[in-house]
Symmetry: C2
Subunit: 279 residues, 2 copies
């Protein structure tokens, strides 16, 4: 009997947060499912001494496992990069791969400054991100409907359909001011499937989220198992009433059953024709 | 007199959210500051008909400006990619560039499935993200200190030092349960610069944020101009007392004056030796 095959180690290395290196590597590795990997992030490798320690860690991994680790790098410093290129790893060098073609196309030398894409851009971008996020928190779940003037979009949906995380993500990643209003059973029944009054003046900002009753049941059961709230029949009732409301009031909506927060957010941006405030 | 040079257009194109294409493209473009670009994101280009419309938009831009647009692509479908390669744009193909080397290294064909890195991974990852984010919201600003058992880290700092966005980001991006406790003037004075009682049992989870009084003043002034709260002297007082507390109680801390939310979060992960729950 042979032993189980060793999981290869993937390193993400950067002189900054390593978010770009992780994004690059992850988007490629998802193409090789069901392979599994051990994953290690090495951020802020911005001195030779830190690079030396990182290199030792990578070499040790290679020796222990007997299989060359894969390194996704966004390191900018060419001397530090050279250390890793000559090591025992498989080195995917994001910077080196693209920068010279971009330099020749833009007819300009790149600054070779340490990656600041996920750094502090300026005060106004910082402010708008924080403001938009605070706005999402302050208008979450139908509180402060008086602040809806400022909203660029108001998400509607049943409890646990993904409204809150989507609003926070829209604020944090795009600087979009997004509020959300919960469609509870009481709201849905009381209004005889017409729009709650607080929303009427903001009809053009409304965007609906719907979800399959089965998935909604799973999500609610994780939080409040064996309750009426989490029962399939209750989820079916609320979803059916919600979709009726969207249709009768011609509110655009999307089914988020198999969507991530990122996909819901990107869809809201696209469908509501919203412009992100920064990249 | 010549006319002002036209700003080149950058397109980010993807069969999914385009977040990866944006991240990779932006991290390269920041190396070419102060160049400015018009930026257009084209997500969910997953059919020939959508690709055709995108291509028309790109060609129209090229004709109008008389300068070839740059396209950063994470498109997976080889037939769709070919359309753009043969167009009038400069095409940066993140998929094609790295995938074959990775295939040969991993000795496996990639699945060529549409980019799911920012897609729904599975129910448990979805749940932990939402849970961790709800946890951050539920323990924000010192509320529910009774839930600190569950915290992996508790951030301390003065009002507007970045605690809330960092906690939300840690939850959303890494699935880390992060609470935060505000150090107000009252807290700082009342305790004679010792630790607030609610925090004493959780000393090992504490991590401090500090910030320059000048930057704090700018941030506070944006929100509440001409108040004592936003005055430089008040900011100086609070920051000085906070740093004294961190030092006397030997709480590790970082100065966030020139850091983005991403950089603060990556630093917290690294310094507190926290393991992210997913990539």
């Amino acid at each position: 009997m042979g032993s189980a095959p060793k999981r290869r180690t993937i390193f993400f290395i950067s002189d900054s947060t390593a978010i770009t290196a992780e994004t690059l590597g992850q988007s490629l590795l998802t193409q090789f499912e069901p392979l599994e990997f051990d994953q290690v992030t090495l951020p802020f490798i911005d001195t030779f001494s830190k690079a030396g320690r990182a290199l030792m860690q990578i070499n040790k991994d290679a020796n222990t496992k007997g299989i060359r680790p894969i390194v996704f790098s966004t390191l900018i410093n060419p001397d530090i990069r050279r250390l890793f290129k000559n090591s025992s790893c498989i080195f995917f060098d994001f910077f080196d791969t693209f920068i010279s073609r971009l330099e020749s196309e833009l007819d300009m030398r790149s600054s070779h400054t340490i990656g600041r894409y996920h750094g502090l851009i300026n005060d106004s971008v910082y402010s708008v991100r924080i403001d938009a996020m605070n706005y999402a928190m302050g208008t979450d779940d139908g509180i402060s409907t008086k602040d809806y003037d400022q909203a660029e979009v108001i998400l509607l949906g049943v409890s646990r359909s993904g409204k809150t995380p989507t609003c926070l993500y829209l604020g944090l990643q795009f600087g979009i001011y997004a509020a959300n209003y919960p469609l509870t059973e009481e709201t849905l029944l009381k209004r005889h499937v017409t729009l709650p009054e607080a929303l009427v003046p903001f009809r053009k900002k409304l965007f609906g989220l719907t979800i399959s009753p089965e998935r909604l049941q799973r999500i609610r059961s994780g939080r409040m198992p064996n309750t009426r709230y989490a029962s399939l029949s209750q989820c079916q009732l609320e979803v059916a009433m919600t979709e009726s409301l969207f249709e009768s009031e011609t509110i655009p909506f999307v089914n988020v059953t198999s969507m991530s927060i990122e996909e819901i957010s990107a869809t809201v941006l696209l469908e509501c024709k919203l412009q992100r405030r920064f990249f």
